[in-house]
Subunit: 283 residues, 2 copies
């Protein structure tokens, strides 16, 4: 049982992890060692106090060094569900389970709205996690939607096990190719299920597969954490970064605008302190 | 008329200034070029994202460089009152007046509670600003309470014009001396007015003077901004860092715990974005 689980390796998650480490808490941190794609993509940041006019890439390098310097580990697993177990939370990563007394959500925000039909079919033909669900569809036909280049490793993993892949990159410089890959550069309009087959619908066409993988940096919070209160695409929080669920905190872009690194680190700090108070009160 | 006035050169003020500069707003920033005494005093900071295990002194140096690199000016005047003028705010610095459409308060928090009798006598024998009110008491007897070494320049200024100074340093390595200075190393208990004379009361004694200067890093918000809603020693704000007064935002320690640099920069960023939205809506 961990004291705290942090989900997300963006600016909010980084800040929460540094503070929990300083306060000597026993926590697990889920995300990517590459940290946040969004940080890396920023061209020039001039208003982050302490880093004088850096590129996103430079910022990501400093953050990586700092995490290493503090001896903090990142667990590279995708959390697919957070479930309230009464006096603790159970986090599922595919078939693995991790338990924590409280949770800090640094999920980022979905920059694209979910596609119609996407949310209704999660777990029933739509998956957000290649490594969790890929093997279940070995030698099958897969549709793989990828938000950015960071997901190409996952796409390559799927490519090795799939009979065929319809690959829908939302970015330009993709490097996925192979005999079993068909690239589609159109924007999908809708997801439909017909019997055991999934359909990705485009303006002028429709592709059929056994599973649709939606690889994106942020997932709708209500899909990840059933029961959590949201306001549009944001998680509802108060000034203490407390969500509607006891012991669950949220920080960064997932709590609303401004979508800024500085705001995100501030909330990560508040959430970490909130978690520590929560642990002290609920010993 | 400025778009925005920022009060305070701690972490919150710095963050707000960097963001307003980036957004190309016309603002004035009141505080000290030495930034925050509190930042400088920190021994080791390990949880501020982007600065890997720095001393407070190193942090202050980075912040100073960054402010200079962005070409941001600090106005070294002490704001003694912020007054609501209907559709703008008037900021008094002694006898000077500055007008701004909105205000960001990064006041810090009083680490010591006000002394009994202090708040009741502000402007009537108690002053927070040596340079504002010093000349009014030329050749008089002054009591000068100083929270830390950063105020010694102000004390020296007073020393040049006073007939006599009772100097009450709250720190150890003070360097104030002179024929007209009497150092008192006891903690004051109460401030009393008797006719036109002020009394600083100690456990076992009492000193009389014409004026009491209380030189401290943070001043009670309700003294600085008449009418603002507070909750104990903190300014009441919502998640957007809006105070009870339209167009007045607050950020950092003055809005409550955790008293952390990371939380303060986050709120400074939110407050700056809030001010920009406010300006756009009230053109």
């Amino acid at each position: 049982m961990y004291d705290v689980a942090i989900i997300g390796t963006g600016a909010a998650g980084i800040s929460a992890a540094l503070t929990l480490k300083q306060l000597n808490k026993n926590f697990i941190w889920f995300g990517s060692k590459k940290l946040s794609f969004k940080i890396n993509a920023a061209e020039k940041i001039t208003n982050y106090p302490g880093l004088i006019s850096v590129s996103g890439k430079e910022m990501r390098e400093v953050f990586s060094k700092q995490i290493a310097a503090q001896g903090i580990e990142i667990t590279e697993k995708q959390v697919t569900g957070v479930y309230d177990m009464g006096d603790y939370y159970s986090l599922l990563c595919g078939s693995e389970e991790f338990d924590a007394k409280c949770v800090i959500l640094g999920l980022g925000v979905e920059m694209q709205k979910p596609i119609p039909g996407e949310l209704d079919n999660v777990g029933m033909g739509v998956s957000y996690c290649a490594t969790c669900d890929g093997m279940l569809y070995k030698n099958k036909v897969m549709t793989v939607y990828a938000q950015n280049k960071d997901f190409e490793e996952e796409v390559e993993f799927l490519q090795e096990i799939a009979a065929k892949i319809y690959f829908i990159p939302l970015y330009k410089d993709y490097e996925i190719k192979g005999d079993n890959v068909e690239v589609i550069t159109k924007r999908p309009k809708e997801i439909k299920r017909e019997g055991r087959k999934m359909h990705m619908v485009f303006d002028d066409s429709d592709i059929e597969s056994d599973i649709i993988f939606m690889l994106k940096s942020a997932v709708s919070p209500q899909i990840l954490v059933p029961g959590i209160e949201v306001d549009g695409s944001h998680i509802k929080v108060n000034r203490a970064c407390e969500t509607s669920m006891r012991g669950v905190f949220a920080a960064g872009d997932c709590t609303g605008r401004p979508y800024q690194y500085t705001k995100a680190v501030g909330e990560g700090n508040i959430a970490a302190h909130g978690a520590v108070s929560f642990l002290a009160k609920n010993k």
